[in-house]
Subunit: 104 residues, 2 copies
Amino acid sequence: MKTKFKPYYAVIFTSTQKENVDGYSKMADRMETLAKQQAGYLGIDSARSDVGITISYWKSLDAIKDWKQQSEHLQAQLKGRQDWYSWYNVRICKVEREYELGNR
Amino acid sequence: MKTKFKPYYAVIFTSTQKENVDGYSKMADRMETLAKQQAGYLGIDSARSDVGITISYWKSLDAIKDWKQQSEHLQAQLKGRQDWYSWYNVRICKVEREYELGNR
């Protein structure tokens, strides 16, 4: 029996960084740890080449809103805007279909 | 006046590669060139660390379907499954909201 696919949400965060990103890596690790503790968190994918891409997956839009308002995360967002990112874009997406090859 | 946001679509492709990926880079460049010529193509973001992430953006689900069926792209998908990827995942998403800081 095939399980019916249940839509969920993805936050696509793309960014470019400034030259000096002191403290960024430690903060990114901390945010990943905190995100995993949030209700409705499903997973995360992250990679950086010329552009950085971080995608987090969530059960609902409310879960995304709660994480955006989490107090330590609010501090990190402020620091990101002020010190680390020269540009970023955030896209809130509904995942409507999914398919996979092999096992990760 | 603020322009009303118009939803569009994103294809999130995450993957891990095999050790030998001869020919992959050339094919990836070729696919990016071809995608840009497709009707409904909006843009692409790509980065690779432990995992590779490529996100392409499209005006509609039909535009995504057309690109998936494009003949040269079908050959590339086959080659990817057979030779290059140890695992991949494809998510079809509707972008419902978006915000940005600064200029890319």
